[in-house]
Symmetry: C2
Subunit: 641 residues, 2 copies
């Protein structure tokens, strides 16, 4: 059985329920009835092999039934099938994405530091005012009375105030129900000087927190932080897979869907909004707050994701000369986007730099403080694309290179995202025996990005592959001829049996020669990007004082192995720092500080974008990097030694 | 048969079709099939006496059928009934409202003068730009490229540009379809300095005009002008009854409906939007333009109407101390309001002054140029309320007094709006014989405001009523005892028979003693308002150099009679000027000139509002004015003489 979108596999006996099978694959489903089929929560959809299912009834809401859902507890397996497990039926399974990131962060101190650097001056401000009661002679309108009080009492005399119709509509009753004591929520940005939006009004002094939502919209996963705007505290965090994955794994496929499928742009827009909405529901449930307390939203993502989040056509991002519609986006209300926060919550994206250097990178550069130092820093975010920024206080140059999906579990035979059961570390002994470590310590089901970097380094170390990635003749049963050519068994029947005495593993995990070639191309692209950036500013690697590695991949990466395969530069390991998901952290900083948001705008406009496809420099660097570690061994002295 | 909302009556033979009956009542219905029942255009709704109708089939769209419509040409009359004739089924019948106003305007020269005074600098501006084609190295985003060109080529360097998501969405294809030649529509106001909204974009140099819609939202009727923004020409004008009338005739009833009926506010909002939409359809049909050419809207109306137009709750306008939600309103898109113009057309209301001095008065003061003269001017708009402004270049004071519905055809026995068949002028001979003139020369069906003023003056002149409005014993069969006390027959069986020899008139038209008392209260309120304004600034009538009479009523008013009954001040008639519908003209001026809009804002904030219910001054003036012409005859020397 295969469970999607996780791509987890379970080998189960005929008659096993889909709910049990999912649990064996590491996916816990919601349930309130304990498998009696009455609560209607553990819903899944059989996408392939429907004829191999046996149903024993069970409760499914009519709408869900029409959508093809069946109750996992009342449906049993009789043969091969593929089952889609929707986010809404999962028991908080994906929080791991966020929790892992948080527990392994290196920048925790720097993170608190952001508030220190920019000050706690949230985009949203709450004020309670006592207004004079109107009389026949003091008969200014409600709005004029409020504005006069804001100017007078709150010292905002020089500002212009605006409010949307929905907020205005609530003003008369708020003033009178509060007997002319009223609380207002104000939002302002430094780049729209002298103008403040009254986002909401309420009678008296309402209790309850003012919250902001920081959103990192990744192509693969979406991560949200719920932030208390008064104290700067992150009260809950949650992540899940981006539902847009249904329309394709990478940005290019999604752009094509948005451009060419009828209604495709709307589908992608709704998919990401629904992803965020599910996270909002979960955040509110977990922290016991009302979604209407969420009064402002800052989102950051790659340029395509920001377009799709706002429903803007990203068509020309994928076509030479790769032009986005915009890199700075208008302020919209959450209600207009369909977000299930307070509908009047103003929503803004962190500005992007160019088609392939997005707001997530701007946010990362903010969090890493690249532009606050005299020293030159290299900031790298490795995913399907490798985005990187090189610079200091005076200048910044950025670029993006296509690494392909290898490091996110795609494009290699047994690739898997960093979900439980994915091999994230491995060792190969001189006798070719293999030791693996998996995410969550679960039985190995595949291999994720950091495991692949390890595998490549270790295969080379013990001589199974040569510098070009070609398999050598080595005497071990792990090296064999597979259906696609030579392959090396990382985890086989023997490994499972030896470890536990349990029944044979569901499938073996191998790495093929073709996988190795793919990995070499991926690591070569990253390294060539770094070299191109350095070349563009005519700098030597030794000038780079710090290298920040951002993104989910970065958290698990073995730097020494990444250097050994020639993916990352061979400098003193102490120069490397893992900074985790700087996209969501930067969005959070922008929520907490107008100055941080303004700094994002400055950073985005300050970064020079280097289009690697213009000119031959990148291609030459790339070709040189297609060896382990590189054609020019002098660039990797520690590996050579 | 009674036709509503016109309140027109027709006496027809059994078997007459509703279409013929409507024509006899002066209402022409649309038709494309000549009465064959196939075109589905001449739809009406029988609101009373449905059992008296006979149907012979005919085509009606299913939606209209569900709404209760029947084809007028295929439905015949067998007895008394009341038939509602919807605006959409009328053959431009209500253009009379506009055409009459236009043909009788006194200010036609001043109207053209507005452009002279403020300059033709429309709120909306169209620009065509040639952009540089992007390359791999010149790869700014589409929006950044557009803004750079606007700054450089259009000399708008100091401005900030914004655009909504809908407009942004169209940018990439517009740029590429036009091969980097693009036309943009920009809107800006002087009170939001340095910020310009890009309202729309289109490839190349599209043809077709740029139009603006000026809307006067009256409680009773709505009038629209379609304006060519390039040349300042009004290309079409159209008016109709405000569909809100369904929910009550006056603002107070409508506020109660908005406040207390579930969904009432939405109903009133939709009713006025639908009224305007029908007018837009008609304007576009008549002038052969597309509604998408309408790219900006300025609306003016009384304060309650502006609230309802925007869907804002007007609840507290009717409750002491009479506080509106706002007097200046946010800029919204036509799409958000539901207007059938270009959905991105920005829509703004002319600022109001207070709960009972609205944007229509601000617009009137603009058009009349009250604040442009050293001389003191009195501006009066007489409808259900009498709103007036007194002032000059240095100061302005305004007030509103409740005149009741008399002058708009309500609250008197045979009152009628100024529709065809309404008596608008009359003479009473010394022998008590009566000569009447009706709107459109049709058979008399009722009496409108100007006819009532005439009637009051003439009844007093020939001695039928005394100074208190009490009927005297006079020897004429026209004076008789009616069901509600004494009444005077203005138009009876004898008048009709004598004139034409036709069958007897459908109904006689009388004026009762109660009607006379109502009229005296109405005229007394107007005069007391004028006196209160003068008193507030301690000025004598002789200081007032010009008196402007605005509003539909003003067009038909006999000033000499209005002075005789003590409604208007007894000054040299040459000081009076009729200025027609200054509300729609002011809205038009604001469309054509940013400076005019800005002047409206200044005027509204400059006008001091005098709340007549605060203090006893008004009440004393009112009581003194409840005689014909007044208790103090020295105030009316020409009448005394």
């Amino acid at each position: 059985m295969t469970f999607v979108p996780d791509n987890l596999i379970a080998d189960v006996a005929a008659g096993t329920s889909l709910r049990q099978a999912a649990a064996m694959a590491g996916i816990e489903l919601k349930s309130a009835c304990g498998g009696e089929g009455t609560c209607g929560l553990c819903l899944v959809r059989i996408t392939e092999g429907r004829q191999a299912a046996r149903s024993a009834g069970g409760n499914v809401a009519p709408r869900r039934r029409r959508e093809g859902y069946v109750p996992a507890c009342r449906t049993s397996v009789q043969g091969d099938m593929t089952v889609e497990v929707p986010e809404f039926a999962r028991l908080a399974q994906h929080r791991v994405l966020v929790d892992k990131i948080r527990s392994r962060e290196v920048l925790t101190e720097e993170e608190a530091d952001v508030v220190g650097r920019f000050g706690l001056q949230p985009l949203l401000r709450r004020l309670t005012l006592k207004l004079d009661c109107p009389t026949l002679t003091e008969n200014a309108s409600d709005w004029a009375r409020l504005v006069a009080a804001l100017r007078r009492e709150a010292g905002l005399g020089a500002l212009t105030f605006t409010a949307g119709l929905a907020t205005l509509s609530r003003l008369p009753s708020a003033l009178r129900r509060g007997e002319w004591e009223v609380t207002v929520w104000l939002m302002g940005w430094d780049d729209i000087p002298a103008q403040v939006t009254v986002v909401d009004v309420a009678p008296g002094q309402p209790t309850g927190p003012d919250l902001g939502l920081a959103v990192d919209i990744g192509t693969t996963s979406v991560v949200t932080y719920l932030v208390d705007l008064e104290h700067g505290e992150t009260i809950a965090a949650r992540g899940t897979f981006n539902h847009q994955a249904h329309y394709g794994d990478d940005v290019i496929t999604r752009i094509i869907h948005a451009s060419e499928a009828p209604g495709g742009l709307g589908e992608l827009h709704e998919a990401v909004v629904e992803t965020i909405n599910e996270l909002i529901d979960g955040l509110c449930l977990a922290s016991g707050v009302s979604a209407t307390s969420i009064r402002t939203v800052v989102a950051s993502g790659n340029t395509t994701m920001e377009h799709l989040f706002l429903g803007l056509p990203p068509d020309f991002i994928r076509l030479e000369p790769y032009i986005p519609l915009a890199v700075e986006f208008p302020i919209v209300t959450a209600g207009d986007l369909g977000l299930r926060t307070n509908p009047s919550a103003l929503t803004r994206c962190v500005p992007s730099v160019a088609s392939y250097v997005g707001g997530d990178i701007t946010a990362g550069v903010l969090v890493a403080g690249v532009a606050e130092s005299d020293d030159v820093t290299l900031f790298i975010d490795i995913g399907t694309n490798g985005e990187m920024v090189l610079g200091n206080r005076d200048w910044m140059v950025s670029c993006a290179c296509s690494a392909g999906p290898c490091f996110e579990g795609g494009g290699v035979t047994h690739g898997l995202r960093a979900v439980p059961g994915a091999i994230e570390r491995l060792e190969i002994e001189p006798d070719y025996e293999v030791r693996v470590e998996t995410v969550g310590g679960a039985e190995p089901r595949g291999i994720c990005g950091s495991g692949l970097v390890d595998a490549l380094a270790k295969l080379r170390e013990v001589g199974i592959i040569d510098r070009a990635g070609k398999f050598q003749k080595v005497d071990t049963p792990r090296l064999r001829e597979g259906p696609d050519g030579p392959e090396f068994v990382l985890y086989g029947q023997a490994d499972a049996g030896a470890a536990s005495g349990d029944p044979p593993v569901a499938r073996e995990i191998v790495i093929t020669e073709a996988d190795v070639k793919n990995l070499i191309r991926a690591k070569g692209a990253i390294y060539a990007g770094i070299r191109s950036l350095l070349g563009a500013v005519n700098l030597d690697l030794q000038a780079v004082k710090r290298i920040y590695i951002a993104g989910g991949f970065g958290n698990y990466l073995n730097v020494r192995d990444a250097v050994r395969i020639g993916m990352l530069p061979d400098v003193d390991p102490s120069r490397y720092r893992f900074v985790g998901n700087t996209s969501v952290k930067g969005a959070r900083a922008a929520l907490l500080s107008r100055k941080a948001f303004e700094t994002c705008r400055e950073l985005a406009s300050k970064m020079t974008y280097l289009e690697l496809s213009a000119g031959r420099g990148f291609m030459e660097e790339f070709v040189s990097a297609l060896f382990l570690p590189h054609t020019d061994l002098t660039q990797f002295p520690s590996v050579q030694g």
